[in-house]
């Protein structure tokens, strides 16, 4: 789990970009958490605090035209892929300017402009959509690579196996990104699955496999790059198992260590491996980043966040009479 966090393959600019992107997602979700108690974001939220490395590492190797599908925990994926921040915050506030016009809430984020195809709140249900996107790309002769993000719980859904079998059989350009944060809601993975390497899934369905430390964004970035290159080259699909950890409660914005479902010290151990802190330290040690740059990042991000929340506050609610619209295309 301790891959060298700075490698020769990845250059400094990329490393700074990876850092900035993770920091931005963290700050945005911290602000959501801070404001959630005000109860003006009246929809369930599933924060990715602690898991930014997976989203950023993977999306950093994708093109704008590469479609991704996400889950109930979609903020980080949406943002890492370049999804519009204002549209996201507005959606959380149920405003007409939200990416779904307020109809979906935090679990349905999507942004066609950057190919965030869809986020789906039903566990596992999003995975075949990515395989379908890969099929469409192949049928239309596009060189897009589709990515399915899903968790260790989704891994138990039969539909994920069905989708992987199809992708493996047709050698489709898709990458299955399994973010193993060790829990489905409050239930640890060992109560739900047998003990065995998760990558075994790849052999069953004819996929290539990569297994990386999800809290080492550079490692994720490089593993994802290999998977995406294979897919774009036409060599076929890959499974990317990413080990990571959720710092906050499953649904909502609070700490939940007091509930006692996490073994003592587990959270602290993982917090010590925070993907952002680790990269910041490495960049500092390597002299690749100075305080001025850090401050610049922070203040740019802060400004962007204020802007998005102000815009959401000012935005109108969807008009009641529009509720009936767009049932049929």
């Amino acid at each position: 789990m301790t891959s060298p966090i700075l490698t020769s393959i990845t250059d400094r600019t990329t490393r700074l970009e990876l850092f900035r992107s993770m920091l931005r997602i963290r700050r945005i979700e911290e602000e959501i958490a801070r404001r959630y108690v005000e109860q003006r974001m009246r929809c369930p939220v599933h924060l990715s605090v602690g898991q930014e490395g997976a989203a950023v590492g993977v999306c950093s190797v994708l093109r704008t035209t590469d479609p991704i599908v996400s889950t109930h925990r979609c903020h980080a994926h949406y943002l890492a892929k370049g999804g519009d921040l204002r549209a996201m915050i507005a959606e959380l506030h149920g405003k007409a300017t939200g990416c779904c016009g307020g109809r979906g809430g935090s679990m349905h984020l999507f942004d066609p402009a950057v190919s965030v195809l869809a986020s789906v709140p039903i566990v596992g249900s999003n995975v075949p959509l990515a395989v379908g996107a890969a099929l469409a790309a192949k049928q239309r002769g596009r060189c897009d690579v589709a990515v399915a993000f899903f968790g260790d719980g989704a891994f138990e859904e039969g539909v994920v196996h069905e989708a992987a079998n199809f992708a493996g059989c047709h050698r489709l350009p898709v990458v299955f990104v399994l973010e193993n944060n060790l829990y489905s809601v409050y239930t640890p993975i060992e109560e739900r699955q047998p003990e065995r390497p998760l990558v075994a899934f790849a052999e069953t369905h004819g996929l290539f496999a990569e297994h990386t430390d999800g809290n080492d964004v550079v490692a994720v970035h490089e593993a994802a790059a290999r998977a995406v290159v294979r897919a774009r080259r036409g060599d076929g699909p890959s499974l990317l198992v990413v080990d990571t950890y959720r710092f906050l409660e499953h649904c909502g914005a609070a700490d939940d260590d007091h509930l006692g479902y996490r073994p003592k010290g587990e959270l602290a151990r993982w917090q010590a491996r925070c993907p952002i802190t680790r990269l910041r330290r490495a960049l500092r040690d390597a002299g690749e980043i100075d305080e001025a740059t850090l401050d610049a990042f922070e203040s740019e991000i802060a400004a962007e966040i204020v802007d998005a929340f102000v815009a959401a506050d000012l935005a109108p609610q969807p008009a009641a009479h529009t509720a009936m619209e767009s049932v049929h295309a």
Binding site: F110, A118, V120, L135, Q139, G158, N165, S326, H328
Partner: protein, 366 residues
């Protein structure tokens, strides 16, 4: 009727061939249309409805599926979101129960939840099995499960012409359309234009005119109802017979107008009666035409138990034209002896053919 259609020579083909023809012409005119199904490319070609497509369009557009209905339904939805227009086919309605989550949560809702920006243009063809003792898990007519879901459109053709026209309409539609094909309707022969003319998915069609009673039927039961209605007409009782065709969105204006005139309503559908299609028709029509009703309505559907395999049990399971004629006559209030005569006459012809196959020459596939 557009020229293409009017000019084409009259031909008699059955609904299975009509479905094949609609699919082929849609695939020719739009290369985003493709077929997915278990058996789509096999020697039987889904009861002939996909026969020959592989040869013309190749494996890339006529895709054989693994036995993984939920998975490939989700894959179809993903492809549709990216601009493709898949046609999915399941050889039995029951197999699609595995894909309910994808259909009800993703296909039906993604256009709405995206504020109208996402489109999921796909057609899901489901076949209702009947006969040859295939039993409880290969014979369900579960249209209610789909018709109840906002965001889906649901059609049930009862003729070769409608099978072609409604399928073309479904393929042109920018949203998910469920087309439920009764296996016995596949054998329905009829005039079908050679031209590819999509029918709007916009409601019922009147098949017979009359002022004594309004009858609304769906799918294969429309054919049984036709026998009953024509027998009644011969007996001087004239029925306004509608084939419902489109279950969602549900357009009942013409039927309500008819009931305002006849004051009587009988529904005949292929599913279980309780919480079935007939319930919605009766509830809505009696609400709208309340003041005009002259007699209590009557619903004809399947009894409240699974489909038994044994012939001796299946015989009493499926309502047939004599029973339909009897119920209509009762609602109209014909004298008991007239009703008995009618039912008897109809029975001798109807029950002369085997009751567990669509017609004597039938040898499967089931």
């Amino acid at each position: 009727m557009p020229d293409a259609a009017r000019m084409s020579a009259p031909r008699i083909i059955n609904a299975a061939a009509a479905i094949r023809e609609a699919t082929a012409s849609a695939m020719r005119s739009d290369d985003r249309v493709f077929v997915m199904g278990e058996g789509a490319t096999d020697p039987k070609g889904v009861f002939g409805t996909t026969a020959g497509l592989l040869e013309e369009f190749g494996k890339g557009r006529v895709m054989e599926m693994p036995v993984a209905e939920n998975g490939w339904t989700g894959i179809a939805i993903g492809a549709a979101l990216c601009g493709q227009r898949p046609i999915l086919v399941h050889q039995r309605v029951e197999f699609s129960l595995l894909a309910m989550e994808q259909l009800v949560n993703n296909a039906a809702k993604i256009h709405y939840v995206s504020g109208g920006r996402h489109r999921a243009p796909l057609v899901v063809r489901l076949v209702v099995g009947r006969g040859w003792g295939q039993g409880p898990a290969h014979s369900q007519s579960l249209e209610t499960l789909f018709a109840h879901i906002p965001g889906l459109k649901v059609v049930m053709p009862s003729s070769a012409a409608d099978a072609k026209g409604l399928l073309l309409g479904a393929i042109e539609d920018d949203g998910p359309v469920i087309m439920i094909e009764h296996r016995w309707v596949h054998f329905a022969q009829g005039h079908v234009d050679e031209g590819a003319v999509a029918m709007p998915l916009d409601g019922p069609r009147r098949l017979r005119e009359g002022d004594d009673c309004t009858v609304v039927a769906t799918s294969y039961m429309t054919l049984e109802a036709l026998q009953a209605v024509d027998a009644l007409a011969a007996g001087g009782c004239n029925v306004d017979l509608f084939d419902l065709r489109v279950l969602r969105p549900l357009r009942l204006d013409a039927i309500i107008e008819s009931v305002r005139r006849t004051g009587r309503l009988v529904t005949v559908d292929t599913g279980h009666a309780t919480y079935g299609i007939g319930a919605e028709i009766v509830a809505r029509v009696l609400t709208e035409a309340f003041g005009s009703m002259k007699a209590a309505p009557c619903r004809i559907g399947l009894p409240e138990h699974p489909t038994p395999s044994a012939r001796s049990l299946a015989e009493v399971y499926y309502p047939r034209s004599p029973l339909i004629a009897t119920r209509i006559a009762e609602v109209v209030g014909l004298p008991a002896h007239r009703i008995a005569e009618l039912a008897h006459a109809l029975g001798t012809t109807r029950d002369a053919v085997p009751l567990d196959i669509p017609h004597p020459s039938f040898k499967g596939p089931f």
